[in-house]
């Protein structure tokens, strides 16, 4: 009987591991748990206000609005308790708002940067001002969200924008050699109109494939090998589960925005060259006067640093800082080191400028 136990134990352990593997790969982790209230909606967009945990006299006066990318869910900013930027900032006393763009449907295929920056953002900001009772505010944009906030800051920055934080901002598209996406979407190989005629919006699965294909072995093999190696470590499994839940929750990108992104930005670098036009208004980056913090991820393969650095010399902000942090495109905000590096730096910069 004792021998039987010895033989069964490794089998039981293997079965348990397989069970755990199946569970984390087929279920969604409990994410985005910081208490919040829905305060405004328009079409698919939603504005949330996080419930403050500090009394008003201990909070920062200027509210902060988080704007994430259009083709991913914004809850990466609030991944799980204890590992959430949102939770961290609420605990530090910020009056925090999050703009969730939602998933565009077929009726939204015409939506462009113009609509997001001149219809949706100003309306959400008006609501934010109305609730907070403060005319000034700070904006934090991440990835495509940083393009949106930059455009907004250039066109409507004089409407109370005090501080602008750009995370891994893809703004400069002149260095084609270092941009794999630019090569893939070159007009010789990629017919953007044909793709949009077939799908309307750019499907989330195709965007996901594009992001993962930049590092195919790491994303399609290494990621799962890492999970298998650490399947007995609940801490790592929990973290992997939460991140996988986010990565596999894809959102399509509105056709109009996708076309502008490829044709106007990736191919013609219009934003940096000062030729990008939004509803007849030229986006002049020198009109940005808000205090500016640009955060660059040194290991970012999606937005290399050459895309984020040049904005520093284009803006008119007297108070500006470039902060480099070790990590990847997502890792700098959601990785294990984020709470020790990126978050405290953002808080340290924003806190004194939010009084």
């Amino acid at each position: 009987m004792a021998e039987a136990t010895v033989i069964t134990d490794p089998l039981t352990a293997a079965a348990d591991r397989l069970k755990m593997l199946t569970k984390v790969m087929t279920t969604k982790a409990a994410i985005a748990q910081t208490p919040k209230e829905l305060v405004w909606t328009l079409n698919k967009a939603k504005l949330y206000r996080y419930i403050p945990v500090l009394p008003k006299e201990k909070r920062h006066r200027i509210p902060l609005l988080l704007v994430f990318a259009l083709m991913n869910r914004p809850y990466i900013l609030d991944l799980r308790p204890g590992h959430s930027f949102v939770e961290y900032m609420v605990n530090e006393g910020y009056d925090l708002y999050l703009l969730d763009w939602g998933a565009p449907g077929p009726e939204d295929k015409h939506l462009k940067f113009d609509d997001y920056t001149l219809d949706y953002m100003p309306r959400a900001i008006r609501k934010l001002k109305s609730i907070s009772g403060v005319e000034e505010f700070s904006l934090l944009g991440w990835c495509i969200g940083a393009i949106l906030t930059t455009i907004y800051a250039a066109l409507r920055g004089d409407e109370g924008l005090r501080n602008l934080i750009l995370l891994t901002a893809p703004l400069d598209f002149s260095n084609k050699q270092d941009l794999t996406f630019a090569r893939w979407t070159d007009e010789r190989y990629f017919d953007v109109d044909k793709v949009l005629a077939a799908f309307g919006n750019m499907p989330g699965e195709m965007i996901d494939y594009g992001a993962k294909a930049l590092k195919p072995v790491e994303n399609y093999v290494g990621n799962y090998v890492k999970l298998w190696d650490n399947i007995d470590d609940p801490r790592i499994v929990e973290s992997w589960h939460a991140m996988n839940s986010w990565v596999t929750d894809n959102v399509p990108l509105a056709g109009g925005v996708f076309r502008q992104l490829i044709v106007d930005l990736y191919r013609n670098d219009k934003l940096m060259r000062g030729e990008f036009v939004i509803r007849g208004e030229r986006v002049d980056l020198s009109r940005i006067r808000a205090n500016l913090l640009t955060v660059i991820a040194e290991g970012d393969h999606i937005t290399p640093s050459c895309q984020s650095e040049p904005i520093m010399s284009k803006v008119s902000s007297a108070d500006k800082e470039l902060f480099r942090v070790k990590g990847g495109h997502i890792g700098i905000m959601a990785g294990s080191g984020a709470s020790k590096n990126t978050w405290p730096h953002i808080d340290g910069w924003l806190g004194p400028r939010s009084q």
Binding site: P35, E37, V39, T41, L42, N43, R49, I51, P52, V53, L54, P55, K56, G105, P106, E107, D119, R123, R126, S130, I131, S132, T180, R183, W184, D186, R188, Y189, F190, D191, K194, V195, A198, A213, L214, K215, P216, V217, E218, V221, G222, V225, D229
Partner: protein, 140 residues
């Protein structure tokens, strides 16, 4: 009692050398693949594949769309275009409502500033969360 020096030592894992080899191989494989996807040839090949897929599937997509449209018409049900049109109109209505909301906010602010009306009660802004004990059940 003397401490056993082997007590805290990591037990021998026969798979460890294999894992090391695997990681070295995957690292090399990963670098090769990154170089490959960064090449002009990959961009050309993936573009050609996507283009072929779109060209081949276009007639099927069109046929399905036409058949679906006819079926919905015969069943007296709205088509995708009808639903899209309603959704667009709904968004326009939402925008008008938002404009009205903005105007009302402005009027309210002006009234408060002019001191014509008493200061309105604070809005629905959430207050700091308080840990509350669950309500005790009353005795029946």
């Amino acid at each position: 009692m003397a401490d056993d020096p082997t007590r805290d030592a990591k037990p021998f894992d026969p798979m460890e050398p294999w894992r090391g080899m695997r990681d070295i191989y995957m690292d090399a494989w990963g670098k090769t693949m990154v170089d490959m996807v960064n090449s002009e040839a990959y961009a050309q090949a993936s573009g050609a594949m996507l283009d072929s897929y779109l060209t081949i599937s276009a007639p099927f997509r069109e046929a399905i769309e036409k058949a679906m449209l006819k079926t919905l018409e015969q069943l007296a049900m709205p088509s995708r275009a009808d639903v899209v049109s309603i959704a667009e109109r709904m968004t326009n209505i939402e925008m008008r409502l938002d404009d009205l909301d903005a105007k009302l906010d402005k009027i309210q602010r002006l009234i408060v500033q002019a001191g014509v009306a008493p200061r309105p009660q604070p809005g629905k802004a959430p207050q700091p969360s308080k840990k509350t004990k669950p309500a005790k059940k009353g005795k029946k």
